[in-house]
Symmetry: C5
Subunit: 359 residues, 5 copies
């Protein structure tokens, strides 16, 4: 129907049916020609950016002092990803989750790294929402991010790393993880803000639209959108909450207050989503009562017209009868008297409907 | 009504009323002529498959190094099952649960084995859903599975064991249990995907159907289906969650991450079910407001027709009266003047309805 | 209204208003002439049954090796019950609860015995549901049961004790308690099954009934019935759950797995009740949309009839006018031309309504 | 609207706005001329009752062996209450809560006493519900109760203390507290019973009432009443639950089982309230579908009448036309033939509506 | 729409999109020319008040014995606030939260101070609600409060400090914090009271209004207002609850009972909000059923008028036909007989509708 719907399409799980567990199968809808690698290697004083299409190129960035962020675009080339996974010793089930776009946001703790799944929601140029699967592996001095296709919410972060603005360059991989999640969550605010605008727009449309034939459909569409956004956002709240409690050596003490800040944001978004969800539910009530109100008005017009003219027509019918002996027909003023009676009836009716507040 | 309904029929518990506890009574609807046994015995290097109709044939597969999977099809022959139960020393209450198809998914821990009840949901050839009671007993080196009738979701698994693909052959009975549950859960995805397709189909039908007389019935049917699927799926989530926490010697350390993966899948399905459930609820709202909308349209047509022609008919009635003294009747152009007046009235009405946005 | 309602009548608590706490007041609706005692005394090899109307007769069954089940029918004779209570040293608040039929299911633990309140739901011969207050006191080697009136769900159990079938004779008072609760719960299944049948019946009636005037009332009745059943069943689930955790010397180790089985059954019934409750809620939706649909159909017929004939009547009215100068009246074929015009209008209307899918 | 509403009026909190915390401000609606004191002093063998209007008179009842119950009627005379508060060393915040009738039921534990706030609900002589703020301070050998105005639910208790019936005289202040709460809760049963009666009355009215114009209003009124009762009752359940767990020297061991009994009653009332709340919600559904049903019936009558007579009127209109060449007009039997045709049409219509089950 | 809505406008989070975490960006709607500082320095015997526009002026109030309250009005001048933040060593994330008006109420504990975010809700002079972001930093002997603009709920508190009324002057910074929160919460009562008045007003309007076209819109507006109030109030309840449990040296023992009192008030408000929310939901039901009822009445009038006069008009039409052979036309009294028949029909119809209770 709308662009929203298409972009929030559910993955077809049946693609992966009857396969051995741990098998990598990309179930998403975004096919890319090749897998693109982007490596950003930095510390307080050093910054290097490198792009490639072969995973092997990433393995040389291995200095202890530096933080290395390797971003992979394109998941349908499972062999390439497998190579990277083997190099960094990722568990087969992680490999499966990276390409399984149906996987809900979660966090898995392994001795050497943390594995986080999240969903990026952001606006495309044409106004449609992009719902993209994002996997993050955070190690001691590296961060791997896996995305379905090019285009993401990290451009501001890339810029901050490059020009060394903010705290990013003087902190390690755990802070980079926080900054990535922070960018993801910031975009949730934008998407949720947009829903709020749409709700206000609908309220106007419900009361002023000419033909409201497909409004229900559109309200349902909005409802479905917020349900799907909710599904992307709410599990991430638990992920962030878990990050607060996890006692992993990768996460340094000073990063914790930033993660608490993330958690605050997640709660704020969650509350907004539930608020807007309730408002959307109200939209339908409004719409239904507006229809009822309009039907009521239609009925009133019909009833007033019919109630006034049907009796009058009956009277006219009486004197249209062809009986030979109808005394009134011969009286001279009966025609005018009849007009008077009909006028009185008319006025009486109008008065009656006025008193009933129908007019 | 539909095939769905029939296949998801509830068992009649009254069959088992007034019996001593622990009495085996098959309450399901699938009668089979005889109980079929299938034994698959394997280890890393060895594979043997054997079928029989007498339980005694299963007892000879007893080597410590091998994993033995004994699958029983057909539950109405309770004596045969009792023999097997006695051989493996199963508790009388387990025996009762194996044939009680009304038993919800659960896990019971015994010193020597784990007992799991699950529900298989899968599509028959004719598109109807099959809801089949499945009991799994997992011992140190054997797995017993009990099904109501032939036909299940384990063909892919059987194939993987046979050709030795994946991790199945190099792992023990606990991994086999995981693989069985994984196959069961994978089919939930297929069933739930289908519900999602049906919901989209309904949205189209609601807006384009000619006669929508039985749509409510069908929406209710869909609602009931998802409620019944929910009942099969949600308790299994708790079973898997319990498997994560159970500290039983049968379950080896390395299998745990696979069970965690199962748990992820169960949460994903549960969320999908609740999402679709909410969407189905919305379908009814959509349908109701569509009916209201259509009724509104019908009312408008009636009101417009009546409001325009009833007053005009009244006027025509007036001049059909047979009074002797009606001056207008003699005037030469009064007929044409009347046509003019009626035309003006007509145009005025049309204008009025346009302004009210009814036209 | 229906028999259901009458039999599930709430007790009038106001009967017991302004009384000292611990005062025994029977608030139920079932008056019996006298209190009937039934004593069943048994062990592995011994069985004796004895009935009486005076409580003192029960006190002689006092052998350590035997299990004694004393069943009391009729609660309005509070003095008789008080005698028994004093003999077995029951707490005054227990005595109050035994005759207070408004007491919800609960379990109280005392050093010497357990006190359980439950509700028996079972069908009378005439198809109405009987909701009866049942109190169970379980001691070391005796079980006391108090019922409002004769007639209960324990006939199967009595038979099993008599003929020594099953495990009952070789187990003690705790197993007897389990067997009593098991009989109570088995009957819940029958009652809930019946609700399910009624729901299916209603679905048919909603779509095929001639006059549906009192369907809402009946649906409400069904809803109320399930709400009341729920009230009898859900607290008992907690009682059974508590029995699982209670660490009382009366309950032997081997009985525990049977109580776990009870708990499984209670969860199953609870889920069924909630499922049927949701289905009943859907019935009302179905009914409402069916009414709307039918109203829509009525409106269509009216609109089609009126829209076709009102304009035609107007045309006929025009040529019924008595103006002297109406040129058409004199033309020879104008009558037939008019018929043609009216036919065209008629066909046009039919075509219009066909396109709107009203026909 | 009704008396119910007036008596359950919310206190105006704005009275107390912009005041320092701990300031005593009576926000209720019941003004009394003077504060009335009633002192009941008793032990096993001794009973004395004394009334006064000056708080100082209460201070002389100070014997260790006796239990002293001081009941104060009238809260708008804050200075008098303050004197008493100072004598018994009550915390300023307690003093504030005693006169703040908007305070919800709660329990505060202090080293020397317990402070309990509850709401008395009981029927006035004229059938309206009285919702009265009650504060209880329980010390070692005294109980203070503060009420808004004269008239309460403790007359039965006063009588029992006077004549020494029941356990009251042989127990201390903690049992008196239990007896007071028990009297409060007993009256909840009466109020809730009355709601249940009203619900049944409404069901009848919905189906048999002549003009149902203000039924919605009354149903809403009932809904609001139960919501307000709920607010008085539910927090008290937590108070009683807290009393069960509090480990205060004032509460003796033997009183605990009585408090457990209170808790049972509170749960029972809570469940009844929620049940009736759901039933009230159903009343509105019933009412709405009854309206729909009646509208449907009205529509049917209209449609039948219009569909039968509009076409017939059209036919009559045809032969009322004044064309010169209308061959049928001259045929001798055409009038009778027309009557035949119209009769056939009439019968056909009746038959059609019968088949549609509208007649 | 209404003033309410405008004043409860959500902040635009998109303002702060793509910024580094910890960046101060004011996202609210209240722009002030300059930041206003108000310093109140007091102890038991001393009181001093000082206002300024430069933060540096605040730093000189630094005596151990005194409590210093520094209130800052205006948040869009982020540099000024940053100076103050640096002086008091506030964490960057606190600085961000102070100006982020979208931040929900929360409490953060730091070693040196507590940081509390709350929302002030109060009425402007013109009757609109003001929703203002308030940040409170509580240190050992100072309290900082940050507000969006001038005008707040603390005037009563300022007066009490000035004239030394109540406990405020003899207590420290923790009691000042309590007094601030108490003032904030007291105003919630006023706002919630107003909602309750509006609900009662709506009930009247629903039943007596002439044109109810925009009532749904206004009910929705009220619903949205209470949802937004809820969002301001509920998180603060958790803040107060946390304050009860926090074990921070700043909060003295004697202040705890006051905080417990705050918590009581928060629960009371929360319950009121949920009660009114449910009542608002009921308003819509009432409105819908009122519309249905009115439509029913309209339909009845139409049906009665049409059912009476359409058959009569048909009869009149019959005798307006121009057949040559219509025997009745010549009979002398047929006109009067016909009037009789029509009168009988009329009376019969009236009788029929009376019996149906439509009249």
């Amino acid at each position: 129907m709308s662009k929203l719907k298409r972009s929030l399409k559910r993955p077809k799980f049946t693609k992966a049916l009857h396969q051995a567990p741990g098998t990598m199968t990309y179930v998403g809808n975004k096919e890319t020609k090749e897998t693109l690698l982007e490596v950003i290697d930095y510390n307080k004083d050093h910054y290097q950016r490198y792009t490639s299409t072969s995973p092997e190129d990433a393995f040389k960035f291995e200095e202890e002092q530096n933080t290395t962020w390797i971003n992979i675009d394109g998941l349908n080339n499972t062999e390439e990803i497998e190579k990277l996974g083997k190099y960094y010793d990722l568990h087969p089930l992680i490999m499966e989750d990276i390409v399984n776009t149906g996987q809900r946001p979660k966090i898995d703790e392994y001795p050497e790294y943390l594995f986080i799944v999240a969903k990026m929601l952001y606006y495309n140029g044409d106004g449609s929402i992009n719902n993209e699967h994002l996997s993050i592996v955070v190690g001691k001095d590296y961060v791997l991010t896996f995305q379905e296709a090019g285009g993401d919410v990290f451009d501001g972060l890339r810029e901050r790393i490059k020009i060394g603005k903010g705290r990013i360059r003087s902190n390690g991989a755990d802070y980079l993880m926080f900054a990535l999640l922070d960018a993801v969550i910031d975009n949730y605010f934008a998407v949720v803000d947009d829903i709020s605008d749409k709700i206000e727009l609908f309220e106007d449309r419900i009361f002023h639209a000419r033909t409201e034939d497909n409004l229900v459909l559109e309200i349902q569409e909005l409802k479905r959108t917020i349900l799907r956004i909710r599904r992307a956002v709410f599990p991430l709240r638990e992920v962030v909450n878990r990050l607060l409690k996890v006692n992993h050596e990768i996460i340094e003490k000073k990063t914790e207050s930033y993660i608490r800040d993330l958690h605050d944001h997640m709660i704020q978004i969650s509350e907004n989503i539930d608020l807007y969800r309730e408002m959307i539910r109200s939209l339908l009530d409004m719409y239904m009562s507006t229809i009822s109100n309009k039907m009521n008005e239609v009925m009133k017009v019909l009833t007033i017209m019919a109630s006034i003219f049907i009796p009058l027509t009956f009277i006219a019918g009486i004197y249209g009868m062809n009986f030979e002996y109808m005394p009134e027909l011969q009286w001279k003023y009966s025609y005018f008297v009849l007009w008077g009676i009909m006028l009185l009836l008319f006025i009486g009716m109008i008065f009656y409907f006025k008193r009933k507040k129908w007019l």
